[in-house]
């Protein structure tokens, strides 16, 4: 289909629908539990804004599977971005809320799209400023490639090869939209 956007007319292709997203998250929840041998010393931290809702969904799925509630936090990485000194206007800050001690925990960072890796680098710095986790793991719904840093996800919903001029948009029910992942092509 074709949609109008600020960038003019763009081609939109749905690559994951609501069912695909649900199944991917269920699988990731199982993989997290398998890799960590249960929920002991495990915590999830969603990266604002895209990863927060996904982290909450994963925590709910882990609770359904294992019957335990694991701690969940929300991390704003703005202050750790590597382009702050280059920007004309500083980006809007949102609050970090990690209401538990992360030291010695295995923390799974959750984000919607893994792209250049710069966001994850910033998130790791932000997390380490809050304590010394025993381990940091990474779960993403989509890996679209084009890494600029040596960063790799432990859990991936779907690998979606993209070109640089394409954009990936993840829309979620929690934001009043339909669950789906689309590729926008200029």
């Amino acid at each position: 289909m074709t949609i109008e956007s600020e960038a003019g007319t763009r081609q939109e292709r749905v690559v994951m629908d609501a069912g695909d997203i649900a199944r991917a998250l269920t699988r990731i929840a199982h993989e997290v539990l398998e890799r960590n041998k249960g929920t002991k010393d495990l915590a999830l931290v969603g990266i604002r804004t895209g990863g927060v809702h996904l982290a909450h969904r994963l925590v709910r799925r882990i609770h359904e599977i294992e019957g335990t509630q694991i701690p969940i936090g929300e991390l704003d990485i703005t202050l750790y971005r590597d382009d702050l000194s280059l920007r004309k206007d500083q980006p809007i800050l949102r609050k970090t809320s990690v209401p538990f001690k992360i030291s010695d925990l295995k923390v799974v960072l959750v984000d919607d799209v893994l792209f250049t890796g710069r966001t994850i680098r910033a998130a790791m710095d932000g997390l380490i400023d809050l304590g010394r986790p025993a381990e940091i793991q990474l779960a993403v719904l989509v890996d679209r490639g084009h890494r600029q840093l040596p960063i790799k996800a432990n859990y991936i919903g779907k690998n979606i090869p993209t070109s640089r001029d394409e954009a990936i948009h993840v829309s979620l029910e929690e934001n009043g939209e339909e669950d789906r992942v689309v590729i926008l092509k200029a």
Partner: protein, 307 residues
């Protein structure tokens, strides 16, 4: 996004949205200030110069701490140890500082308008940390943040500003900001301390403290500037304390749960009774703590590369 302005000189120049953006940004920095490691790399590589031509401990320390918590390099520059005593002008001094690649200059000066003069002459961002009797924007912003932190909405809020309004830059900045956000502002003090026509700023003028306090949610005390005693603004300090000093009895005239504020340093027993200053309704120390978070927010928002 952001403030879209090079300088922070006066609250008359900020919109309600700008003010709310600063307060929202301060929220994030309040969280940072509560961490074990109270430092983020947001201003790494930036240089902040505190250029203070008037003595100040509180504001200068607050700005210094804010800049350091953002990982900026901080230079404290005061005229007693500078070339100003040798006759260098404000602009010459600032240009020399700018030549050292200062990104942000925080200026405190005894002359109204000094910050604006400086801002016109340098490319660095300029933050007004108090210029004469004109304005003290960051103090007013931290006052607003403290009020908001108590769960109070500005729309319909009743605030009494008590004391030497005529000589208070804090009062002026607060009046501009509070009226912009929809609060009802009352000013009260002896007629010698209330400027003529101040009602044109949208405030109500009172000369009787008890009347002014009825029904207010916020009591903002101003420091009695004892160094101005010789100006014959009131007969004696004792009389001033009786007429305009805040006591527990007077606090009871305000709304239940009203808060007492003071920009500091306080003159205990003159404008505010010690038991009021130390009471549960006093948020004076909250103001100091919030000052760092608000100034971190301002430094962050002002630290873009500009136009």
């Amino acid at each position: 996004m952001g403030l879209k302005r090079k300088d922070l000189l006066s609250l008359t120049l900020l919109s309600a949205d700008d003010i709310n953006l600063i307060l929202d940004t301060a929220d994030s920095f309040k969280e940072v200030s509560g961490r074990e490691i109270k430092k983020v790399p947001a201003l790494r590589g930036k240089t902040v110069v505190n250029l203070f031509f008037e003595p100040s401990t509180r504001t200068r320390t607050s700005f210094e701490l804010a800049a350091k918590r953002l990982s900026a390099d901080v230079i404290n520059f005061s005229p007693s140890s500078s070339s100003v005593v040798k006759g260098e002008t404000l602009l010459d001094t600032a240009r020399n500082i700018e030549a050292m690649q200062a990104d942000i200059i925080v200026l405190r000066h005894s002359s109204a308008g000094a910050a604006e003069t400086l801002a016109r002459g340098v490319k660095s961002s300029v933050i007004n940390a108090g210029d004469g009797w004109h304005e003290h924007p960051t103090q007013a912003l931290l006052d607003l943040y403290t009020i908001r932190g108590r769960g109070m909405d500005f729309a319909g809020l009743r605030v009494a500003i008590v004391g030497d309004v005529a000589h208070s830059r804090v009062a002026r900045s607060n009046i501009y900001a509070l009226t912009k956000l929809g609060a009802e502002v009352r000013v009260v003090g002896p007629p010698t301390m209330i400027p003529l026509h101040i009602d044109r700023l949208g405030v109500k003028v009172y000369y009787n403290l008890d009347e002014a306090l009825r029904g207010v949610h916020v009591i903002m005390m101003l420091r009695l500037q004892l160094e101005r005693q010789g100006r014959a603004l009131f007969p004696t300090i004792r009389e001033y304390a009786q007429q305009y000093g805040l006591t527990n009895e007077r606090v009871k005239l305000a709304e239940p749960g009203a808060i007492v504020m003071h920009p500091g340093p306080i003159n205990r027993g003159i404008e505010i009774a010690p038991d009021v200053a130390d009471s549960l309704s006093s948020v004076i120390l909250d103001q100091v703590a919030n000052g760092v978070a608000v100034r971190m927010g301002i430094l962050y928002l002002m630290s873009g590369t500009g136009a």
